[in-house]
C-alpha cells in the first residue's frame, strides 16, 4: 500500500509529458490538416506508448506482498522509481 502514491505520481508525470508532446504535435500538423481521424489516431499512439512503457514499472509496484522477498523488492522498485523520476519533489 505504501507504493500507491508512487503509482499516482508516475502516472501524472507521464501524462504531463504526453499532453505537452501531443499539443506540440497538433500545432505542427496545423488546425486545417488535423482531422478527427488523425487526432484520434495520434491520441491513441501517445496513450499506447505511455501505457506500454509504464506497464512494467507499475506492475512491479503492485506485488501482493505475500512473501517478504517480494515486498522488499517492491519497495526497492518504488525507491528507485522515486529517485529516477524525481517523484518525491
Amino acid at each position: 500500500l505504501e507504493t500507491v502514491p508512487t503509482i499516482k505520481k508516475l502516472r501524472s508525470y507521464a501524462d504531463r509529458i504526453r499532453a505537452a508532446e501531443l499539443e506540440k504535435c497538433f500545432q505542427k500538423i496545423g488546425e486545417d490538416a488535423l482531422t478527427k481521424k488523425i487526432r484520434r489516431a495520434v491520441d491513441d499512439l501517445s496513450n499506447g506508448i505511455v501505457n506500454k512503457l509504464l506497464h512494467g514499472p507499475l506492475q512491479h509496484l503492485r506485488c501482493d506482498g505475500s512473501d517478504s522477498r517480494t515486498l522488499d523488492e517492491t519497495l526497492e522498485n518504488m525507491h528507485a522509481l522515486n529517485r529516477m523520476f524525481s517523484l518525491d519533489t
Partner: protein, 119 residues
Amino acid sequence: PRKQQLMTNLRTGKNYLRNQDPEKALVEFKAAFDLAETLGDHVEEKKAARGLGASLQRLGKYKEAIKYHSKVLEISKRMGEDSGSTEAYGAIADCYTELGELEKAGKFYDKYIARLQND
C-alpha cells in the same frame, strides 16, 4: 441542433480544461452530459462523463469525480465498448489515493495496470 449544442459544449469544455479552467469546463461538460442523457446518445454521454470527472478532480472534488469516472465504466459496460475504461480505472484510483483510501485505490490500479498492454 441539440446534438450540435452538445458537441459545442464538449469542445468548449475540453478547451477550458486544457487552459486550466476546470470551473468553466465543469459547466460545459454538465450541459453536455444532460443533453446526451436526454438524447440517449451514449457515445457523447461517455465523453461528457469523462470530462466531468476530470474537471471535478482538478477542483479537488474527488468523491464526485469518482461518481462520473464510474459512469464512464458503466456506459462502457452497457455498450459493450470499452474505450476510455483504462483511463477511468486509473482516474478513480487517483481519486481514492487523494482521499487517503489506499486499499480501494490499489484495487482500481490493479484493474488499470492489467489493461495497460491492451490497445
